[in-house]
Amino acid sequence: MDGRGGAVELRETHRLTGHADRAWALAWNPNLGAGASPVLASCGGDKTVRIWKRAPDGGWQCTDVLEDTHNRTVRSCAWSPDGKLLATASFDATTAIWEYSGGDFECVATLEGHENEVKSASWSQSGSLLATCSRDKAVWIWEMQPGNEYECVAVLQGHTQDVKMVQWHPILDILVSVSYDNTIKVWADDGNDEWHCVQTLTEADNCGHSSTVWSISFNQKGNRMVTCSDDCTLKIWDTSIDLSQPETGEGHESWQHVSTLTGYHGRTIFSAHWSSGDFIASGAGDDAICLFVEEKSSMVEGPSYRLILKKEKAHDMDINSVRWCPQDPRVLASASDDGTVKLWELRGNILA
């Protein structure tokens, strides 16, 4: 029990075991058929991807193991918006695209081009674009063509060190990348299929991070994002992007720092994720998970966020990924160096 404001609790409901090495990343399938049970993908140092489904009796089982395609660590995975394709980014310098058909996952494409470890992949909201990033400092944008063909439409250079994660905006074709060079970069199309960096958020100029930025997540509306870092902070950013004018490119460079959450994690924060219910979860090298919400009552000094819960020893080792379930915003999944994936249920009246 946390003791802060009553009975808010993050209860461990399931422990998914099977990975033979650290579990690096998680992805919930965002688009299931009506009435279908949630589906979670996990990947890790054992070079495999595992697909987990909830059985009719409520238990979770691993239904598929995607192996023998990547020959090094699978660093991250991402479902396409329609839930039909899974992209997996690997230290073997490739990104694989998997399709579920005929009761099996089949690798239908392998994207080659990065010089070394691919660390992250993200699908744009329409599903027509896929972004990948690598230790080679580049971000690539791929366009899906008929027949499982992927054409590289842009190679974005700008980061001075390896790029840890890419994430598309939930509504617009705006891409954000975060890096070992401590910066956050915002990329947009100028309307002529030319991609440019429209904003770089740094420590010196924007109250940004002072060490590696590991992860970025948007809120559902797309007007805020959260980033987390080796500097042991989370930062909240706000924009005046006009969401009603998706094609104009207006205001893409408008991200501003609004809040720094510091003092909650004692070691590197590897993952942060914003739920559709407006909770921010963070997972870190201190083995803890923290949850934050916006403090609605203190608008006098601008938006602020408060800790509602810290789950110490959520795992036996570093937590690498935290992801809210899109179909059930009270369910959180976490992946750890201890090789396990855990499912958690958020209980209690949080907003009371």
């Binding site: 650290r22 230290f91 470890e117 660390k119 840890k164 070992y180 080796d230 570093d318």
Partner: protein, 156 residues
Amino acid sequence: MTVGMINANPVVHERPERAAHHAHAAAAALDALDVFDTVRDIKDPEHPYSLEQLSVLSQESVSVDEKLGHIQITFTPTVQHCSMATVIGLCLRLKLMQNFPSHFKIDIKVAPGSLANEESVNKQLNDKERVAAALENPNLRQLVDDCLCSDHSSSY
């Protein structure tokens, strides 16, 4: 190594013999001496001497907070421009990972002022993604394994 050495003429110290400390204490708390004993005989990547013999490591290099589950090693490369520092750091980390419970948090740094690019080396040594990728690199892994294998007090 066929390429030119980073430091061709290092100062080599004798390996001081040390009585096995608290042999009775299988269940005793982990301390800095346990950690030092585990890493002192790791071979330098470019010399047939141990890290201790080259004064890259000493007992003072290690600090342990058992309660917090934290091990920190601060090593001193033999020269200011030691490109082997990242390999030494990998050796230390792998050795600790192989010998101590996995829940221990490990921080590895070079001694302040010992290296020209101290900050960037420290950052790289403690980025676990870079470490994981490096240990999957066959050439680098071979180099690291060689340094650990020639370690005659090894426990595996």
